[in-house]
Amino acid sequence: MKRILKQAVFYAALLAVWVIVAKLKIWPPYVFPEPWGVWESLKAGFADHSFWIAIGVSMKRIAVGYGISVVLGVVLGLMIASSKFLEETLGGLLVSLQSLPSICWLPLAVLWFGLTEKAILFVVIMGSVLSITIAMEDGRHQMPKIYSMAGRNLGARGLKLFYFVLLPASLPYLVSGLKQGWAFAWRSLISGEMIFVSLGLGQLLMMGRDLNDMSQVIAVMILIVAIGYIVDALVFRLVERRLQEKWGLLPAA
């Protein structure tokens, strides 16, 4: 309860500073809008459905792109973890590639796929697959050996061993990577959507810039942050909580 109060005070203060700075009129409103200008933009955006459409388009893309990333990352991570050769070669390459901002893949994606859906998906996948792969590899290494031994002992082989033992056993280690991968995928998606008429949230941002409509830009930014936060809170925190309960990792209540 106390925490919520602190947060309320903090955001109220932030809003107050915003209002004061806007009221001082140091910059014109199209450069530095007042809060209710942004509020109006938000209302208008939802009223004419343009925000809903953008959210729908972006969510569909992230679902496909992130989905592919998860499957690819898990398989790749397990492969690397189970082969010394791959670990020393591909593993090292992936770690160094991780320092590359995902937007750097965009020129390449545009050359390969043109200004298409595929180019955006490619950037999303490249943005998130690495952290999932590395987390899976780590998870496979950190996972106590006894689970795979017990699994083999009880008759689990090959794919069954992977699906019924290795995957669930590494989930607590994997989940942070999945979370990070999601954040990276979301960022990459927005950057990717900015470059052409893509109907997503990223394009709405650029449209605001083109129309010199700072209110809309900030409104869309708030939307992007809000969606990121909601997915994190609803999906990942729930998954984490559920895992901790099952595994008994929660501190005793």
Binding site: M149, A150, N153, L154, A156, P168, A169
Partner: protein
Amino acid sequence: MHKLNNATKLTDLSRVRSEHRRLGPTVAGVTSVAVVPRPASAKLTLQKVSQRYQSPHNGQLLALDNIELSVGAGEFVCIVGPSGCGKSTLLHIIAGLTHPAAGEVFLDGKPVQGAGTDRILIFQDLGLFPWLTVAQNVEFGMRMAGMSKNERREKARNYLRLVHLANFEDNYVHQLSGGMKQRVALARALATEPDVLLMDEPFAALDAQTRDLLHDELERIWAETGSTIVFVTHNVREAVRLGDRVVLLTFRPGRVKTEFHVNLPRPRHLEDVDVAQMARDIHDELRDEINKSLEAEYRHETHP
């Protein structure tokens, strides 16, 4: 109660056993206290099993040296030795989770290849799956074997009843006490209906009362299911309490030093005078090995 100190005789245990069958347990200069039916055929045979491992200091170390062991069907064999004698390694080799550097393991006369549900190992740390409920843990082996959901649920219930955990089937593992986890591991192992049950110091971490209780339960379940059990422990009294036979391993490299047939009537108790007496005898044999183990540890501490 008798003691077989003759290593050459032990290398051919099947012969010893068949003599037992024909002549009763008074062969080999032995006076028996009680007649324990000795199984005729060898269920499990280890032939010249050796294992090496890489030591950080002195290159390759011999962990197990030419282990010869034969376990009859339905027999309860306890393996005792000081820490570092390769007891656990031996069980891992029997379970097929580790390949021996030399030698072979035979089950019903056939060499074993890799892990199989005919030999289930209960690990020292149990290895219960925390992401599954108690019932799902017990069902795991049957699920891997492709048994239908209803059938395996039914069987899991039976095995949970056998270990007195019927009311906990929907709990997760971390919600159970140490003794209860042990019993889940036992139920999970039994549910695959293994030919041989391998137990690696399963009760070492338990308090005395829980351990006593589990000794009773294990003995009862062993009698009910007719399982063949190879039980590793460093606790000599526990070995005498449970085993038909106690096999003594030497310290590094692990070799079979001596064997003791425990012909005491069952059910036994840890506090029984006979159990205590025999444990003392075995302990006298073991003392040298324990000293060697302690010396090695001491050397390691002073000259790392």
